[in-house]
C-alpha cells in the first residue's frame, strides 16, 4: 500500500487503564474508505479512536494520520480529523448556527467559507428551521445532527465516529448515513464504530473486528466470511463466530 493513500495507520498501539484496553493494535485504513470498527463491549474500540483523535495518549505505539505522525505533530493531525462521540457534546446555550461558528473558529477557518459550509450542512441535515434556536431543548437526534454538522464544517479528511447512530430515529439515522456516504464519495475517510451490524454490513467497505484490544479479523465482508468459514452468513453471525473463536482460543 502506498503510504500517501493510507488515511490511518496504527502500529503496536498500547493503552492500559486498570487492564489493557488496547494491546498492541496494528491497523491500516486506506484513504477514501468507509471503515467499520466492530467489537464487543470493552473491546477497546472507543479507546483506540480517542487516541487517534488526540484525546488520549497511548502508552506505546505509533499513530499516523494521512502521513502525519499524530503523536509528534498532534496539531497538524488534528487539522485533518473530526471526532464525533456517541454522546453529542454541544452547548445547550448556543444555537446550531453559533455552534458551527464556534467550531469554525477553533479550526481557524475563514468566516465566509465557514458560513457557506455551515448553511449547506444546516440545510442538508434538516436543521434549518431550528438553526437559531438554542440547543437546550433539542432531541438526541437533533443534538447528534448538530454535532455531526460541527464535525463536517471544517471539511475533515478523516472522520471518526463512535456509535453515531445510537438513539437516533429511522429518519435521523438515514440522514446521518447519507451524509457519511456522501463524504466518502467526496474523498474523505470515515471510521465508525457501531453495534448495529446491519449498518456496518451495508455501508462499510472494510470491517475490522477487535477484541481485548487486538485486531482479530479484518477485511471486506466476504473476506471475513471466509475467515470465519461461514459463506453467505450475515455479518452478525460472522462477528459472533469470530469473537467466540477468539475467546475460546484465549
Amino acid at each position: 500500500m502506498n503510504r500517501s493513500t493510507i488515511a490511518l495507520e496504527l502500529r503496536g498501539l498500547v493503552k492500559h487503564f486498570d487492564r489493557p484496553a488496547v494491546d498492541g493494535l496494528d491497523l491500516s485504513v486506506r484513504a477514501g474508505q468507509f471503515y467499520a470498527l466492530l467489537g464487543p463491549n470493552g473491546a477497546g474500540k472507543t479507546t483506540t479512536l480517542r487516541i487517534v483523535a488526540g484525546l488520549l495518549r497511548p502508552d506505546a505505539g505509533a499513530v499516523s494520520v494521512l502521513g502525519i505522525d499524530a503523536l509528534a505533530e498532534p496539531i497538524a493531525a488534528k487539522r485533518l480529523i473530526a471526532w464525533v462521540s456517541d454522546e453529542p457534546m454541544i452547548y445547550d446555550k448556543l444555537t446550531p448556527f453559533e455552534y458551527l461558528e464556534f467550531v469554525a473558529g477553533l479550526w481557524s477557518m475563514d468566516a465566509g467559507t465557514a458560513e457557506a459550509r455551515a448553511r449547506e450542512l444546516i440545510e442538508w441535515l434538516g436543521l434549518a428551521p431550528h438553526a437559531h434556536e438554542r440547543c437546550q431543548s433539542f432531541s438526541k437526534g437533533m443534538r447528534q445532527k448538530v454535532a455531526l454538522a460541527g464535525a463536517l464544517v471544517h471539511e475533515p479528511r478523516l472522520l471518526i465516529l463512535d456509535e453515531p447512530l445510537t438513539g437516533l430515529d429511522a429518519g435521523a439515522a438515514r440522514q446521518v448515513k447519507d451524509v457519511l456516504t456522501a463524504r466518502v464519495r467526496g474523498g474523505a475517510t470515515v471510521i465508525m464504530t457501531t453495534h448495529i451490524l446491519e449498518v456496518a454490513e451495508r455501508m462499510a467497505e472494510r470491517i475490522g473486528i477487535i477484541d481485548k484490544g487486538r485486531l482479530i479479523a479484518e477485511g471486506t465482508l466476504d473476506e471475513l466470511r471466509r475467515q470465519a468459514g461461514r459463506a453467505g452468513s450475515s455479518l452478525e453471525d460472522v462477528f459472533l463466530d469470530l469473537v467466540a473463536k477468539q475467546s475460546n482460543a484465549a
Binding site: 493503552k15 483523535a53 488526540g54 484525546l55 488520549l56 495518549r57 497511548p58 502508552d59 498532534p74 496539531i75 497538524a76 488534528k78 487539522r79 480529523i81 473530526a82 471526532w83 462521540s85 457534546m89 454541544i90 452547548y91 445547550d92 446555550k93 448556543l94 444555537t95 448556527f97 453559533e98 461558528e101 464556534f102 467550531v103 469554525a104 473558529g105 477553533l106 479550526w107 481557524s108 475563514d110 468566516a111 465566509g112 465557514a114 458560513e115 455551515a118 431550528h130 437559531h132 434556536e133 438554542r134 437546550q136 431543548s137 460541527g150
Partner: protein, 515 residues
C-alpha cells in the same frame, strides 16, 4: 419495619437518601473516607467550640441579663439565622419541584404524591434546621455551660425558626409557581433565595455603615440609638429571644407557631404537589424560542472564538450568572462606604481594597471553574487543532475580562477619590483573580456546569487554597495601600500558598485528556 408507602416508610427512605447524599458530598463520593470524615467532624466541632469560647465565654461568665440590648442582639441573630434558613429552604423546595431524580418513579407508582410532598418538606425543614444548628450550636453550648442550661432552649427556637422558614419558603415558591409559571419560577426563586440569604447580612452592614461608619454589625445592634428606638422589652417581637434565654412559655409559643404554620402549609399545598412536578417537568419541552438571528459568521481568531463562547454561555445562563455574581452582592456595603466617605475620609476608603480584591479572587475562581472544569464539550475543544495551553490561556482571558468588567466601576470610582489606593486595588484585583483562576486550572476535573454550587466537592484543597489566596492578596493590597512594609510578608505568604497548592495539585495521568 414500617408498611410500604406510608408516611414513616417514605420518611425512612428520605432520611436514608439525605444521609447518603451528605456523606457523598463530604467525602467527594469516595468510599472508605468515612473515618476521615468522622475525624474532621470532631476537629471542626472542637474548633468552633473554641471560637465560641473566645467570643462569648467572658460575657457568659458574667451572666447575661434579659435587658433590651441583649434582646436586640439575640433578635438580630435570630433574623440572621432565619434569613439564611429561608434562603436554604427556598433553594431546597425549588429543587424538590424541579429535580427529576426519583420523582418519575414515585409519581408513576400508586403511592400518594401528597405523602411524598409532606415527607420531603418535613425533611427540608429538618435539614435546614440542622445546618444552622451546626453553626449556632457551639455558641448555645458555651452559653449553657457558663450561664446555665436555660440557654439549651435556644435549640427549640432554632427548630421553630427552621419550620417557619421552610413554611415560608414553600408558600413563596408555590406562589411564584402559580403566579409566574414553572419556567420563570426556577430562576427567580434561586435568585430570591440568594438575595434573601445575603440580604439581612448586607442590610445590617449597610445600616452599620450609615449609622456608625463602621463594618461592625454587632456594634450597630448594640448601639444606644438602635436600642433606644427598639420596642419595649415586653413587646411580642422579643419572644423568640426570650425563648432562647429559657422562657418556657415563649418557647412553647415559638414552637407552636413554627411547627403549626409548617403543618398548615404542608396540608394546604401537598394535594397539588404532583401537578406542580408534572408542570415543572414540561418546562424543557415548552416552545422553543427563536433568538435574534445573526446573518453572518463573525471572523475570529481561535482564542477569540473561545473567549466569545465563554462570555456567551455565561451571559445566557442567568442562574449560573446569578450564582456567580452573588458574591458581588457583598461588595454593596463597601460601595456604600465609598459613597459615604467620598472626598473626605481617604483612610476609610482603605477598607474597600481588601473587600474588592478578595471578591475578585473568589469571582475569578468561580468563573474559571465554569470555563475549565464546566466545559460542556471537552472532546470538541481537545480535538481541535490548538495547543492545550492556548485553550487555557483563552479561557483565563475570558475569566479575567469578566472580572474586570464587574470590578471596573468600583475601581474607577475609587480612582476619582484616591488614585493611589485605586491603583493598588487594581493590581491586587489582577493578582488575586489570576491566582484564583490558576488554582482552578491546577485542580481541574471534568464536571457538569449545573454542579457549580457543589464545585467545592471536587477539590476541597482548591476551595481552601482559593479562599486563602484571596484573603492573603486582600491583606497584601490593604497593607500596600496603607504604605506598610508588612505587605511584603503577606505577599510572600500568598506566593507560598500558591507554590504549596501547585506542589500538591493532582498530577495529570499520562494519557489524560489533553486539555
Amino acid at each position: 419495619m414500617s408498611q410500604p408507602a406510608t408516611l414513616t416508610w417514605f420518611a425512612r427512605h428520605e432520611f436514608n437518601l439525605m444521609w447518603r447524599d451528605w456523606v457523598s458530598l463530604m467525602t467527594a463520593g469516595k468510599r472508605g473516607r468515612e473515618p476521615i470524615l468522622a475525624g474532621v467532624a470532631v476537629v471542626f466541632a472542637v474548633l468552633v467550640h473554641l471560637l465560641a469560647y473566645f467570643l462569648i465565654a467572658p460575657l457568659a461568665r458574667a451572666g447575661i441579663a434579659p435587658d433590651k440590648t441583649t434582646l436586640v442582639v439575640l433578635t438580630g441573630g435570630a433574623f440572621l439565622s432565619c434569613s439564611l434558613m429561608l434562603s436554604q429552604a427556598m433553594e431546597s423546595v425549588t429543587r424538590a419541584f424541579y429535580a427529576r431524580a426519583d420523582l418519575d418513579l414515585i409519581l408513576s407508582s400508586p403511592a400518594s404524591a401528597r405523602r411524598v410532598f409532606a415527607v420531603r418538606m418535613a425533611t427540608i425543614a429538618l435539614s435546614t434546621t440542622l445546618l444552622t444548628t451546626v453553626l449556632a450550636g457551639p455558641f448555645i453550648n458555651t452559653l449553657a455551660f457558663y450561664d446555665g442550661p436555660r440557654w439549651l432552649a435556644a435549640y427549640g427556637v432554632l427548630l421553630a425558626l427552621g419550620a417557619l422558614s421552610t413554611a415560608l419558603a414553600i408558600a413563596v415558591t408555590v406562589a411564584l409557581f402559580r403566579g409566574l409559571g414553572p419556567k420563570r419560577t426556577r430562576l427567580i426563586s434561586q435568585i430570591v433565595s440568594a438575595v434573601v440569604g445575603a440580604g439581612f447580612v448586607i442590610g445590617v452592614q449597610a445600616a452599620a455603615i450609615v449609622s456608625t461608619g463602621s463594618f461592625s454589625r454587632l456594634a450597630f445592634l448594640r448601639s444606644e440609638d438602635l436600642v433606644a428606638r427598639a420596642p419595649e422589652a415586653a413587646h411580642l417581637i422579643w419572644w423568640p429571644a426570650r425563648a432562647a434565654m429559657g422562657d418556657l412559655g415563649a418557647l412553647a409559643a415559638a414552637l407552636g407557631v413554627g411547627l403549626g404554620v409548617l403543618f398548615l402549609v404542608i396540608a394546604v399545598f401537598s394535594p397539588n404537589f404532583g401537578d406542580h412536578v408534572v408542570a415543572a417537568s414540561g418546562v424543557v419541552y415548552e416552545g422553543r424560542k427563536k433568538h435574534r438571528r445573526r446573518t453572518a459568521f463573525r471572523p475570529a481568531s481561535t482564542r477569540h472564538a473561545l473567549r466569545r463562547k465563554e462570555w456567551t454561555l455565561l451571559r445566557r445562563d442567568p442562574w449560573l450568572m446569578s450564582q456567580t455574581l452573588m458574591q458581588i452582592l457583598y461588595l454593596l456595603p463597601p460601595a456604600l462606604l465609598l459613597w459615604r466617605n467620598f472626598g473626605d475620609d481617604l483612610g476609610g476608603l482603605l477598607i474597600l481594597v481588601p473587600v474588592i480584591v478578595m471578591a475578585s479572587g473568589q469571582l475569578a475562581g468561580g468563573l474559571a471553574w465554569l470555563a475549565v472544569s464546566g466545559e460542556d464539550a471537552p472532546d470538541l475543544v481537545a480535538a481541535a487543532p490548538i495547543p492545550a495551553r492556548a485553550v487555557l490561556a483563552a479561557k483565563i482571558e475570558a475569566v479575567l475580562g469578566a472580572v474586570a468588567l464587574v470590578v471596573a466601576p468600583l475601581i474607577l470610582a475609587l480612582a476619582l477619590a484616591a488614585p493611589k489606593i485605586a491603583a493598588v486595588a487594581a493590581l491586587g484585583v489582577a493578582v488575586s483573580a489570576a491566582s484564583g483562576a490558576m488554582i482552578q486550572i491546577w485542580f481541574r476535573a471534568q464536571a457538569k456546569r449545573s454542579n457549580f454550587r457543589r464545585r467545592q466537592v471536587s477539590s476541597r484543597v482548591a476551595t481552601v487554597a482559593e479562599a486563602l489566596s484571596s484573603i492573603l492578596w486582600a491583606g497584601t493590597a490593604v497593607l500596600a495601600a496603607a504604605g506598610s512594609w508588612f505587605a511584603a510578608a503577606t505577599a510572600l505568604l500568598a506566593l507560598l500558598t500558591l507554590a504549596a497548592t501547585w506542589a500538591i495539585r493532582p498530577r495529570r495521568k499520562k494519557g489524560d485528556i489533553l486539555l
